[in-house]
Symmetry: C2
Subunit: 297 residues, 2 copies
């Protein structure tokens, strides 16, 4: 898994740089005092991507007390590795994307995979959501057709901003605690690679479709306001973020996910035209997007 | 107390409008389904104040389950009233300010006052911090000279962004659960009014001192980055915010505190000149500001 996330980091960064055509990723290596470390790769002020990070880490040592408590163990050693990425395009026509693929194991033998990917658009384009979900479904289906619907629903439930009554975006996949026998773990690792490899084909065609489109001042304003909601979700609800901060993770890597420029207006109108109203409807009531699940929208 | 917070809202809004000389407050009245409601007064895009809110509320009814659990009671009715304000000036030379004065009582007879005020500057001006703290100390001292040091320390501890190892600003006062016999409650109410009345004389001279100063592009950028830290504190740590969101408070009133325009940069440099380095030193290690406490800085 550690080798896979490094290779995925290289593949994704190369493809994103090529797509951007302007900025390059810069790498920061960091060490964790208790054991292990990571490589944060960050892109900023590109032609397409205003801010983004594709981070990998492999950390180990004694399980932090707060994590041990959460896991219901007295004390244990652990090993964790994963890749986590967020890309914030400048243009409101191009959706923000987040993905994360991770593996965790403890010295008591317990081990599991977790991860997912989700899309946060600022315009109501059903093709984008349909393509993203269909690509992820295609990566899940060989491992069981029950997986996509299950992890799609989990994603809708997880990325929900309760105090707003809205999802963060149009969802994707979310799964955690995927465990099993050693043979089953091999299958789960294959699944993890399949959905990890699906990230670029799920996202890049959406970027290509919209990167050169002109946009209005209001579309940009709407994006800055929706980015405010993104911040609200990440800082109030996202377990990776809040738990990372609590357990003294590397703050700059954890908060790399926050958008570069954000607006918080009082009682901001969020449905000033049909595209906004349609998108807000999708966020309030998550729907089926993948081809073959419900083709009618 | 309910009558006092309404009168304080009028006084503060009138003075802030006069200071701004441009924008006016707009009022939204709202009802709480379970009982009571509030008046949110919001100012936006003024000459001095880019965004601000001065909100009062008086709510009552059955104690929400989460709150009852926190209070360690089975069920109870409650009444709560207070004023809460945040002002975000456009100029980085003028500090952001927050204040809150509140009263809470339960049908089991328990009742208490809480509140405080704190200053978040973006330039290192010792006069500003000294004046703000001295004014608050002056309002506390008639009620016991032990109060200012106690509530100043509580403020430093409360408004601390643990994952950054920095305070949100240069502090002020924070106090909660001030309770006593009926006679003592009268004294506490007098204290509450004294510190509430001290808000304008503590803050306005600082605004007047800096409102017309020119500022650099970097000072503005530094403010936008520090506003990011303000968001991090409010959404991750502030109990009023997180508990308000959890207990289905009025989202727009709760999040009125967030700055209008915010930057989140990866590994942003925060000490590019002497003023920034000095200010960051104050935030990492809170110090004494009030006259007569430690005059040497």
């Amino acid at each position: 898994m550690q080798s896979y996330v490094h290779s995925l980091q290289d593949t994704i960064c190369t493809a994103i740089e090529a797509e951007d055509g302007g900025a390059r990723f810069h790498e920061d290596r960091w060490d964790r005092p208790g054991g292990g470390g990571g490589q944060a790769r960050v892109i900023a002020e590109g032609k397409v991507f205003e801010k983004g990070g594709v981070n990998v880490s492999a950390v180990f040592g004694e399980l932090p007390a707060k994590l041990a408590e959460k896991m219901g163990v007295d004390r244990a050693d652990f090993f964790a590795t994963g890749i986590s990425l967020v890309l914030h395009p400048f243009s409101p026509r191009v959706p923000t994307v987040h993905a994360n693929y991770r593996y965790f194991e403890m010295s008591n033998g317990d081990a599991w995979f977790g991860g997912g990917a989700d899309l946060t658009p600022y315009i109501a384009d059903p093709w984008d959501a349909g393509h993203f979900h269909s690509a992820l479904k295609g990566a899940c289906d060989p491992f069981g057709t029950e997986l996509y619907p299950r992890y799609k629903k989990w994603c809708d439930e997880y990325f929900f901003i309760r105090h707003r009554g809205e999802a963060r975006g149009v969802g994707g996949l979310f799964y955690d605690y995927l465990r099993g026998t050693p043979e089953e773990m091999e299958g789960l690792f294959a699944f993890q690679q399949s959905v990890g490899d699906a990230f670029l084909p799920a996202y890049l065609p959406i970027v290509e479709r919209h990167a050169d489109e002109p946009f209005t001042e209001r579309e940009k304003k709407f994006q800055l306001l929706r980015r405010g909601r993104y911040v609200e979700f990440n800082l109030v609800y996202d377990r990776g973020t809040t738990f990372g901060l609590e357990t003294q993770g590397r703050t700059e890597s954890i908060l790399m996910s926050l958008p570069p420029v954000v607006n918080f207006d009082y009682c901001a109108p969020m449905e000033t035209d049909e595209s906004e109203a349609t998108l807000m409807g999708w966020l309030r009531e998550p729907r089926e997007w993948a081809e073959g699940v419900n083709a009618k929208f």
